[in-house]
Symmetry: C2
Subunit: 321 residues, 2 copies
């Protein structure tokens, strides 16, 4: 986790921008601007809308990345948004990761994978790349990925091994930000405590052999900003586990609410905002249907930059020391 | 679930072939046979090994599919094996799904996705395809997908909605076949019962509005063959939930062990085998390093067909009526 912690220190900003494009978050003239390019290159007419969105997603992401790269330490592309477009979307996911990495950002792939041991080892290729002879090939360009704990230790170990070998990290779901997360995660256990606390203890143990210079292991935890008290208790319970905190902004989490998820030194967590940054252009009041694609992208950039600065300042005031 | 159940009835065979290729499961001369084709079409030398494996995976899968299409009702490609090769692998995953569907097979995409509601809706594009204007585009070609329950109801509902709209199905992880599945799934709850039983009840309820002509809902459950007693108890506990049963063969599950996961009519479950079928050529004793690629693929086909017939007969004798 050292690389992420140092990137946060350099930026003096414990926030990560979620790159979760949807058709509604990309200005329509940007999508339309790729109509000719896509219809020339895609043979099957049925594939054109998805291909056009995919190209537009990359242009949109590149615009956001360029606008925030000197403000934030990291980005978190959510692969679901790209899978929704099929393989063309997956290509753009990897292009987005690669471009962000080239701009010096830590790339946290929100892929929430999880499977039994032998299959988890294949998923861990997201971190290790393709091992084949003497060439090294890293098709995903992720510095970390999110992982689901429901399968237990043998579904996690391959990711820890791959992360260790490649100087990368993972973040395991512990307490997610969504309302129905309580249905499983808050269940009371017969031996005391709740399920998410049991998972928290597993996560702390899964990372125990990989603690870095800054005191945190390679196995982080996902703890939603929508659970301030639980998050603060987990901070104490998991002293060597770095937190990825989703749910700030659009989902209702606040800087004051996430303050308890940071450690006494102001480290220990990174807070994600997706729609609040990449959709800021829609709330700016400056968008006009008559804008050109370039004008719309300029607004996307300036609104995202401003929102990222606001979030950084909010966290600096309330959380980060 | 009606389409799957009818496919099983037509084949008189409640088994599904897992299409989980690995570098070790594809005969090396098959991989080598694509060297020229790939080096001509791939620009970056670092990408060549993965691209060559990806092409070989498709040829291997097509060989297996052709060999078993008249014996089994379904195939289950495991997307992790393809993601391990990067986007080129994901392309081959979708090509494999499309080819299998064209051969009349029910395609069960083992993707184990799961996220919060808005993101789950994007993942549900695996089933719904890309909604865009008046063109319909289904890039994934899956008839069902596997889903992780850790996020609760709002992570499941989008999949159920998409499955219902598209006449497709999902299978939710309940009791997985791996050894450390017990770490979470067998936890005793304060209100009685174990975590996987609580998940089982959720799964039964998630499907309750989608029960088909054959009495099973669109929301199935993954129940490992390595847990015979628990599986039999779950069969009674979840009367409208169809089971996907992994872990037969290589992981130690037997036909006698899975018998209790079927209902009184011999329906209610489909049993997966992956390595036991697609890796049968390695155990045949007939493989020779001197074989050509075509000869090796012929052996792959005949060994897979024979293994699939053996599994079918094993299930017919012990389970299926």
């Amino acid at each position: 986790m050292d690389r992420l912690i140092e990137a946060i220190e350099n930026a003096q900003n414990p926030s990560v921008v979620g790159l979760d494009p949807t058709p509604a978050l990309v200005p329509p003239q940007v999508v339309a601007s790729f109509a000719d390019e896509v219809s020339d290159s895609v043979e099957d007419p049925a594939e054109i809308p998805a291909a056009q969105l995919a190209v537009a997603y990359f242009e949109f992401n590149r615009t956001i990345i360029d606008a925030v790269a000197d403000i934030v330490p990291a980005v978190k592309p959510q692969i679901a948004m790209y899978e929704a477009l099929g393989p063309a979307g997956v290509d753009v996911y990897t292009m987005t990761c690669e471009y962000a990495a080239q701009q010096g950002l830590y790339v946290l792939g929100d892929i929430k994978r999880g499977d039994i041991g032998s299959t988890a080892a294949a998923y861990a290729g997201h971190l290790s790349g393709v091992a084949s002879g003497d060439t090294s090939f890293d098709p995903w360009h992720e510095d970390a990925v999110t992982v689901n704990p429901y399968l237990g230790t043998d579904g996690i170990t391959p990711f820890v091994d791959a992360a260790t070998a490649a100087d990368k990290d993972i973040f395991v779901l512990v307490r997610t930000s969504n309302p129905s997360s309580k249905e499983l995660q808050e269940l009371d256990l017969a031996d005391g405590g709740k399920l998410y606390e049991h998972v928290a203890d597993l996560v702390e143990s899964w990372g125990s052999a990989t603690i870095g210079e800054h005191g945190y292991s390679r196995v982080g935890a996902v703890v939603g900003a929508t659970h301030p008290e639980e998050g603060a208790a987990l901070r104490k319970r998991m002293p060597h586990t770095f937190f990825l905190v989703p749910g700030y902004g659009a989902q209702g989490g606040t800087a004051a609410g996430v303050a308890g998820m940071f450690d006494a030194d102001g480290s220990g967590a990174i807070v994600n905002s997706s729609r609040g940054i990449i959709g800021a252009w829609k709330k700016s009041g400056e968008y006009r249907d008559s804008m050109t694609a370039d004008e719309a992208l300029s607004l996307v950039a300036s609104a995202a930059r401003s929102a990222a600065q606001d979030m950084r300042d909010d966290l600096r005031i309330n959380v980060y020391r």
